[in-house]
């Protein structure tokens, strides 16, 4: 099927069969909501869509619906995600395995509608699993993977793709059969839930020790999510032939420099790598798909012995720079024979970053010393 990223995600949601979808419209997420509503109207989805008055309430309803024991989905973007911030923490604290699509869009002010990952990356510490997707097919597949992982480790998961480049770009997408999806995703039936037959309450005031232990439990769940994500991806590959890994290494053999990036920038970088390899420059691509939990071991393995790395961040945290750049440096800390890490702020605010430009940035990095400060590269 020819589908844009949002509709592809919606197809993924349909296959996952969530029972409750509280949602609030926001550009550029709205087509996901519209498509699900359409599925419901056509009788293709048995789902209760709650037309909330805000993203905050949408997430509030997601949490309780999930705690009451049903599969829950929602979608948002940008300001919506900002408004949810409080509830994102609440969701992970409640260990509610909600899956949410976030369509990356610049955060105001000023107003903009452009692809920029800062909205979701700024939520990296909220206790959500985060997947960054390169294209519509990956978004569809990842929605299903995210449910499998989230429900296994009892943490919420965000499936993220960028505005317009993915959300509104049409590509050929293979929609798996319902049987495949059902085999992949068992029904959600948590043992602890809000149910008079069980009678347990959730969230009473705790003492310091209980809170401490609860945070440790969350951390353990997040740790387990990595393994669960790997398992979920390989099973998906078994069933559909498509797998992504938690990271993807592209033409990394003997590379002297690896381009590291996330989301649709990976697609562009792939072309740049091909160009450079054709020109005899030993450059590869490391795509980080799973950002939370951060796949530290996998990244360290991939970069061990590689002389240089250039990180392309379509996001910006004032005062530190690119999120991925910082994360990567932290991940590599103490790695013997680790690479020199160059960080480039490229495509912030949705500016166009072409394969040629990426190739140029790679060549530049190979010849220079990395800066500890953010480097703006358009």
């Amino acid at each position: 099927m020819l589908l844009n990223g949002n509709h592809a995600a919606a197809y993924g949601v349909k296959l996952a069969r969530p029972k409750v979808v509280p949602v609030y419209p926001i550009t550029p997420q709205t087509p996901i909501l519209e498509k699900i509503s359409e599925f419901q109207a056509r009788g293709e989805m048995e789902v209760d869509i709650m037309t909330m008055e805000s993203e905050h309430s949408a997430m509030a309803a997601c949490i309780t619906a999930s705690l009451a024991g049903v599969r829950v989905f929602t979608a948002t973007a940008s300001q919506g995600l900002m408004l949810m911030h409080e509830m994102l923490h609440y969701a992970s604290g409640a260990q509610a395995p909600i899956v949410m699509c976030n369509v990356n869009r610049t955060i105001g002010s000023p107003w903009g509608f452009w692809p920029d990952q800062t909205d979701s990356l700024a939520q990296r510490d909220t206790g959500w699993i985060q997947y960054y997707c390169e294209n519509p097919q990956e978004s569809l597949d990842t929605v299903l993977q995210a449910f499998r992982v989230a429900e296994k480790v009892l943490l919420p998961a965000m499936v993220i793709h960028e505005a317009f480049y993915v959300s509104h770009a049409l590509e050929v997408v293979e929609v798996p059969d319902r049987e495949v999806a059902d085999r992949y995703l068992p029904p959600f039936d948590p043992p602890h839930r809000l149910d008079p037959e069980i009678g347990e309450s959730w969230g009473n005031v705790v003492n310091q020790d209980m809170f401490y232990r609860h945070r440790k439990t969350l951390g353990r769940s997040m740790d387990q999510a990595l393994e669960a994500a790997i398992e979920a991806d390989s099973l998906w590959q078994e069933l559909t032939g498509r797998g992504y890994g938690v990271i993807e290494e592209y033409r990394c053999r003997d590379a002297e420099l690896l381009i590291v990036t996330m989301g649709c920038m990976a697609g562009t970088a792939r072309e740049a790598v091909d160009q450079l390899r054709e020109a005899g420059v030993p450059v590869g691509l490391l795509k980080v798909k799973l950002f939370r939990p951060f796949p530290v071991d996998q990244v360290r393995r991939a970069l061990k012995g590689v002389p240089g790395v250039v990180v392309l961040d379509r996001n910006f945290a004032p005062g530190t720079g690119g999120f991925l750049h910082q994360e990567l440096k932290a991940a590599l800390y103490g790695l013997e024979g680790g690479p020199a890490v160059h960080g480039c702020l490229a495509g912030v605010g949705g500016t166009n970053v072409s394969p040629t430009k990426i190739a140029a940035l790679a060549r530049e990095a190979m010849g220079g010393k990395p800066s500890v400060f953010p480097v703006w590269k358009g």
Binding site: A94, E200, S201, W202
Partner: protein
């Protein structure tokens, strides 16, 4: 961090707060406690008024009557003639009008006579014999309470019929004679020997003491007081007691057209209204001002309705007969407010004297006991000195009623008779010590009543018959309450200090610390473990039957 703490899950709950103790927060504890109502404390006969009114409310009339007669064998009498201090003290008086206790008592008393309910007799007979001298309310009350306890009782009465003031003093329009007869006969039927026409004098006591283990003097106050300014001449000045006694014996004296009654108490009103029924025009001359007569307000009101002229603040200076008419020279007076209680000290207002003419003057200025020759000590007030068990200075001799008290009320006499029995019983059983005297909880005050639970409801009293018709004969002047009226009035009772098991304490506890046992009867308990001592149950108790007591740790 201990090992156990580690096992407590930080998010989903595992149990209930019932395992926590909040009772340790408490500095006071509610206690369900039956407390005296003001009416009960005020009742001279010690009647359990809240209880029997509750029984009336529930339609348990026989139970109500049994509760009444535990303390007073004459509810149909007192239901008419009691001065009902219970109503004066009734907490509902501060709200929307006192409960008509007296009318309710009459309702129950009349019903018992109509139904012919017998008084409970003794459970076990005892050998000891007790003589009671006098068959007025005090003597008969004493005899009845003795009989209930199994004693063999003989009552001596100088008059041909028993009943004393009930029969010979109070006029029939206030207290019909068949009511008196009914209640007295019912009382005697419990097995009391009555010897009428038998005068007991002081010198007879020694021989009686040989025959009887104890004696009780209840000879009343038959000696009318006189005033020096009236020189009884030609029968134009008579005593109220004689007058009422003759009328009650149907020996109607000739009193002429103009009658002056001297006095302002109940007897004065009885005399005046009786004289009106005999066709005379009546002036009452009282020392007290007209608004503060010692007679009950209702009696005064009814006397006025019947055409009695009452002149208060009047003292007769002298009385002179002239041409078959008594001319009374009267002064206007005020009573000295600095005089000790019970003492009337009139101050003459100069220059405003006036004349009153009368065919007959009837003196109703009080009466004293006739105790000449009785071997018991008397006080300055000319009544027999008794302790709180009604024991006199003579061994085994007790006294009650007007002979031993200046409270000249039928119900006070009934109470005295009952009290004497407590003393007699102790004496006969060889026990010393005091009668009663156990500490009782504080009386319930109006501010302890939660009036939210009592919708305003009008006090309804017995209606008086038409005054014109009233004057035609000696039929009863007031119309008893109907059953419906009685039930409605009984519903007005706050039941001060008496738990009615309404469950308010149970329902109003935010901590579910009040428990309610249902078997064998409903009882409340306080769970010490949870009660925080807030006092909400105390506040929400409609009737002051719970008190908050300080916790001492």
């Amino acid at each position: 961090m201990c090992a156990v703490a580690k096992e407590i899950p930080p998010v989903w709950t595992t149990g209930w707060t019932e395992e926590l103790s909040t009772g340790t927060w408490r500095s006071a504890t509610p206690v369900h406690e039956e407390r005296p109502s003001p009416c009960k404390n005020a009742c001279p006969a010690g009647g359990n008024i809240p209880l029997w009114i509750q029984q009336v409310r529930e339609g348990q009339y026989h139970s109500a009557w049994l509760t009444l007669v535990a303390n007073n064998p004459f509810p149909a009498v007192t239901g008419r003639v009691c001065h009902h201090p219970c109503e004066v003290s009734c907490n509902r008086g501060e709200y929307d009008g006192a409960v008509t206790v007296n009318a309710l008592e009459q309702f129950v008393g009349d019903l018992a006579l109509k139904e012919g309910w017998p008084l409970p007799g003794p459970e076990n007979n005892k050998d000891a014999r007790v003589a009671v001298i006098g068959s007025g309310p005090a003597g008969l009350s004493c005899a009845y309470q003795l009989r209930r306890r199994g004693y063999r009782v003989t009552v001596f009465e100088a008059q041909p019929e028993p009943g004393g003031v009930m029969r010979y003093g109070i006029p029939a329009y206030r207290l019909p004679k068949e009511i008196v007869a009914g209640e007295v006969n019912r009382l005697l039927a419990t097995g009391i020997e009555l010897r009428t026409g038998t005068v007991v004098r002081g010198e007879d006591l020694d021989s009686l003491r040989k025959e009887f283990a104890a004696l009780c003097l209840a000879t009343g106050a038959p000696r009318a007081k006189v005033l020096p300014q009236f020189n009884p001449a030609g029968g134009r000045v008579i005593s109220g007691l004689d007058f009422l006694g003759r009328v009650n014996r149907n020996d109607i004296p000739a009193i002429g057209r103009q009658v002056a009654v001297i006095g302002g108490g109940s007897v004065a009103m009885d005399v005046a209204r009786t004289a009106r029924r005999l066709g005379s025009q009546v002036k009452v001359l009282a020392l007290e001002d007209g608004h503060n007569l010692p007679a009950q307000a209702q009696e005064v009101q009814e006397a006025l309705e019947e055409g009695v002229i009452i002149r208060g603040g009047v003292m007769v200076r002298e009385a002179a007969e002239e041409g078959g008419i008594l001319n009374l020279t009267c002064d206007k007076v005020v009573l000295d407010p600095s005089a000790p209680p019970g003492v009337l000290k009139p101050i003459v207002i100069p220059g405003v004297s006036f004349q009153v003419s009368a065919d007959t003057v009837i003196l109703a200025v009080g009466q004293d006991p006739d105790l000449d020759g009785f071997p018991v000590r008397q006080g300055e007030n000319r009544v027999i000195e008794v302790d709180h068990c009604q024991a006199t200075s003579g061994a085994g001799i007790f006294a009650c009623g007007d002979a031993a008290s200046t409270d000249r009320f039928v119900s006070a006499a009934i109470g005295g008779g009952k009290r004497a029995v407590l003393g007699i019983e102790r004496y006969l059983e060889g026990r010393g010590g005091n009668c009663g005297g156990e500490p009782v909880p504080d009386e319930v005050s109006f501010k302890e009543i939660n009036t939210f639970y009592f919708p305003v409801a009008a006090r309804v009293e017995r209606k008086a018959a038409d005054p014109v018709k009233r004057l035609q004969d000696f039929r009863e002047a007031r119309v008893a309450l109907t059953e419906e009226e009685a039930r409605a009035q009984a519903h007005r009772c706050f039941s001060c200090g008496h738990c009615l098991k309404c469950d308010n304490c149970y329902y109003y506890c935010p901590d579910m610390a009040v428990i309610r046992e249902t078997l064998p009867e409903k009882l409340y308990g306080i769970q010490d473990r949870y009660c925080k001592g807030c006092g909400l149950c105390v506040e929400e108790c409609p009737r002051g039957a719970i008190v908050l007591k300080e916790v001492r740790r």
